[in-house]
């Protein structure tokens, strides 16, 4: 049995006291250990930002990459070893800003990757600039008169791009977040988990006090069917007095990208031994050029 403690690293986080990243970090460790996934079976890929340091604070295989680029790195890793559980962990600047294009492609490819986005709606590590999910009018160091840009809607974008699992959690409701992440990991295909992450240093207006009274769970809404795309589309745009979380959308049984690559049906690429080339192979290769 894998224990929560198995993910414990001697390195302590450098996050601010009260940061939502602690909750997300713990939720990830709970989810992985409760699913009986051992640290060596998991590859945690991150980008750049406070939250992208998560693998550094976790006893797990980590690949801490570049700003915005964790998804393609995760894609390459997954194609090379689809026996590994690949999880991306990165922030909104990383995932919805610089990496937004990669997210669209990861979603439409439906690789079996879990994509956890720590969405604090601000740039924290660079100390307080507005992010792609900051609301219109958001005053920050790079938007002193208030942001003119309208915020991106990650749920709607993921749905439009063809994601087969779309969820949301809030670290103050840790158990719920753990369950959403577990379902995302168990989902076969690309799974986005948008996490409402309070940033107590640079975005106090949208921290615990803001979300606590607004969030509600879709699974508690009578009649809500997460396999209904039209319903999902409508709820994806709900943001204000009520903010939905839980599983917005899930379609099961869609083939993953890995399922459809003939070479991968022989098993993970990295486990496939180098081909023993024969004279027949050589002859076949040469004959193309003759």
């Amino acid at each position: 049995m894998v224990e929560f403690q198995d993910y414990r690293s001697p390195v302590r986080p450098t996050w601010c006291k009260g940061c939502g990243d602690y909750g997300i970090w713990n939720a990830l460790k709970f989810a992985l250990s409760e699913l009986d996934l051992a640290p060596h079976e998991v590859l945690m890929v991150s980008g750049i930002g406070c939250g992208s340091k998560t693998p550094d604070y976790t006893h797990v295989n980590g690949l801490h990459t570049l700003h915005g680029r964790s998804l393609p790195a995760a894609t390459g890793a997954r194609l090379a070893n689809h026996g590994a559980e690949v999880i991306c962990v990165h922030g909104d600047g990383d995932g919805y800003g610089m990496g937004l294009g990669h997210m669209m492609h990861a979603a439409r490819r439906n690789l079996d990757i879990t994509d956890v986005v720590q969405n604090n709606r601000v740039y924290g590590l660079t100390k307080g600039q507005y992010s792609p999910t900051s609301p219109e009018g958001f005053v920050s160091k790079t938007s002193p008169q208030g942001a003119i840009d309208r915020p991106v809607n990650p749920w709607a974008l993921a749905l439009a791009a063809g994601a087969t699992f779309i969820g949301r959690g809030f670290p103050a409701d840790l158990r719920h977040l753990v369950e959403v992440i577990k379902k995302a990991i168990q989902h076969r295909g690309y799974a986005l988990v948008d996490v409402l992450q309070p940033c107590v240093s640079f975005n106090r207006a949208y921290a615990y006090d803001y979300y606590q009274p607004r969030v509600y769970k879709l699974e508690e809404e009578s009649g809500y069917d997460p396999s209904d795309r039209a319903m999902a589309w409508e709820r994806a745009h709900e943001w204000g007095d009520r903010i939905p979380m839980g599983i917005l959308y899930q379609v099961e049984g869609e083939p993953t990208y890995e399922d459809q690559v003939p070479v991968l049906q022989e098993g993970p690429l990295v486990k496939q031994t180098f081909r023993e080339w024969t004279e027949n192979d050589f002859e076949a290769l040469r004959s193309e050029f003759i």
């Binding site: 060596h40 294009g101 022989e266």
Partner: protein, 581 residues
């Protein structure tokens, strides 16, 4: 006696099948026992413009194209206008009567004019207008006495995918044009290209194919790329062969993703390659640094084309040498190979992976459009398939890791700078790879000492890799008055220049630099020590290799021949410039 060496030029618009018929013709000559060098020249568009394919044919091995042509197959007026002047005395021009040709001038220069109703012949045989290219090839074969059955075998191969009907029509068109031309102009052309009896079967290959083949045999299992001329055919070749030989090929959303995917794949333990050109490589530069920092063995093929920006999208240049050498912020080891021949491309294709895994750093194979897309005949055994070996360097096996005592340190300090590498997936080797500076266990650090030591560790690998860098390849007499120096794709044109100079009684030799970084300074200095007068020939405006040679060897290059008009060097171009220097 009829001339038995010649250059064909097929000129026409994009969409007229100039490239495909050129490539088919090249293969036909090879099958008939001739040595071939084929190169294409085209505009970046799908229709229209002016393209040509040039095929040089001889009984002895060829290394370059030449500037003069013997038989022009002009499919458009523009082809007539642009290329008639290039036809040598004794040569000929094939085109349709409806095109305007200055017969008087041709006549004065002793160039024969062969008006042939190519389109009518194609149509009479039930073919489409576009099959005039097949008719032109049939006509050329008829003029030169080239065996029709060999041409037919290539037509069959090329059109098989399009169905029996396509094969049959093209065969009929070729045959009709062949006979029409023989009947009308049978004895009128003093070139002869019969089948060479008992000639060995040779392969016709371009640089991209050779690199891809080398990579495939060298255990490459993952290729990620975005189409970009002139590197696209590496991606395509791998895509065509992947399923059969166990390679996963991913056409990515952009080159940033391509680089990140090969990093992810290589990190997990798979030999991974990304082919691109300078523009795509520009997007890859940040990722290149990540591979350097995380010590991930990736291989990139950078087939150069003229920049900056889009530059000349379908043409050639050697302008990215210093760029690939310095790309990405900070200092980290990388290895750069600059193959110059089909054989060297093949070797680079597999050797790059051994170097990447041994030194745990990115390796760049620097090619260019001329090398990437020109075909040459090589002997069937010229590429040493069974000589390919796989050396994964200090890669820990599952058994090694089972026996591991104590903590695994992915970035352990070692004298060579090479730290034994474990692939993610073993319970005893759970570690972080990060683009941040890190301590030996892979954990992020900002402290002075580990930073200094990790920098020194990484850079030490370069010193080690230097021992594997091969010195320049010489050609010609050991001592000579003039030593031509080049790198990459200039090998062929320089070699033929040396031959031409030697024929003229001049004293010349050459040096070809093939392993560029870490710069084999001692070997280059040693090779240059006998040179009396050096002339650096390179395809860029600022003398990038010359500056490397001078900086690292202290030897000054005496003269420079540089080309940056997007066209490849030819022996004639070099000869003409040599007279000036």
């Amino acid at each position: 006696m009829a001339t038995r060496e010649m250059t064909f030029k097929i000129g026409g618009e994009a969409g007229q099948g100039v490239e495909s018929s050129g490539a088919g013709f090249a293969k036909a000559f090879a099958r008939a026992g001739w040595h071939v060098f084929g190169t294409q020249d085209y505009y970046s568009r799908i229709r229209g413009g002016h393209n040509f394919y040039q095929i040089r044919v001889a009984e002895t091995p060829l290394y370059s194209h030449v500037d003069s042509i013997d038989l022009l197959l002009a499919l458009t007026q523009e082809a007539v206008d642009r290329h008639c002047d290039e036809v040598v005395p004794g040569g000929g021009v094939i085109c349709e009567e409806c095109l305007e040709v200055d017969c008087a001038t041709l006549d004065k220069r002793d160039v024969s004019y062969f008006p042939i109703p190519l389109t009518d012949i194609a149509k009479e045989q039930g073919g489409a207008e576009v099959m005039r290219n097949t008719a032109a090839l049939g006509a050329a074969a008829g003029l030169t006495g080239f065996p029709l059955e060999v041409m037919a075998s290539v037509i069959e191969d090329n059109f098989r995918k399009k169905g029996t009907e396509a094969v049959q029509v093209n065969l009929r068109v070729a045959e009709a044009a062949y006979h029409w031309t023989q009947d009308k102009f049978g004895e009128g052309f003093d070139y002869e290209l019969p089948r060479i009896e008992d000639a060995p079967r040779r392969m016709v290959m371009d640089g991209n194919q050779a690199i891809a083949l080398g990579a495939l045999l060298g255990g490459c299992k993952f290729v990620a790329g975005y189409p970009m001329t002139p590197a696209t055919s590496v991606l395509q070749w791998m895509a065509t062969h992947g399923d059969r030989y166990g390679v996963v090929v991913k056409h990515t959303e952009d080159e940033i993703a391509a680089m990140m995917m090969i990093i992810g794949a290589a990190h997990m333990g798979v030999r991974a390659l990304a082919p691109t050109s300078g523009g795509g490589f520009s997007l890859m530069t940040e990722g290149l640094g990540l591979a350097g920092m995380t010590e991930t063995p990736v291989v990139v093929v950078e087939a150069q084309r003229p920049g900056p920006a889009t530059g000349l999208a379908t043409r050639t240049e050697q302008g990215d040498l210093l760029f690939v050498l310095h790309a990405s912020q900070g200092e980290f080891p990388r290895i750069i190979l600059s193959p110059g021949t089909i054989e060297e491309c093949f070797d680079a294709g597999w050797r790059a992976f051994n170097l990447a895994e041994t030194y745990q750093c990115p390796v760049i194979i620097l090619s260019d459009n001329f090398l990437a897309n020109s075909v040459r005949t090589i002997e069937k055994d010229a590429l040493d398939f069974s000589g390919v070996h796989i050396d994964r360097g200090q890669l820990l096996t599952e058994k090694d890791l089972d026996a591991l005592e104590g903590e695994y340190l992915r970035y352990a300090y070692t004298k060579s700078g090479i730290s034994p590498r474990a692939l993610p997936g073993h319970p005893k080797a759970v570690y972080q790879a990060t683009g941040n500076e890190h301590s030996p266990d892979g954990q992020l650090t900002e402290e002075r000492e580990p930073r200094r030591l990790q920098m020194e560790k990484r850079l030490a690998k370069l010193e080690c890799a230097l021992t594997e860098m091969r010195g320049p390849v010489p050609y010609g007499p050991k001592k000579a008055e003039t030593t031509l120096v080049g790198w990459g794709s200039t090998y062929g044109p320089l070699r033929e220049t040396v031959d031409l100079l030697t024929e003229q009684g001049e004293s010349a030799n050459m040096l070809h630099i093939r392993d560029v970084w870490p710069f084999p300074a001692d070997a280059v200095r040693e090779a240059l020590s006998d040179a009396q007068r050096t002339v650096m020939v390179e395809g860029n405006a600022t003398g990038q290799m010359a500056s490397l040679v001078e900086a690292h060897t202290g030897v000054n290059i005496d003269h420079h021949i540089r080309r940056y008009d997007g066209r490849p060097f030819s022996p004639q171009y070099i000869m003409a410039r040599l007279e000036e220097v």
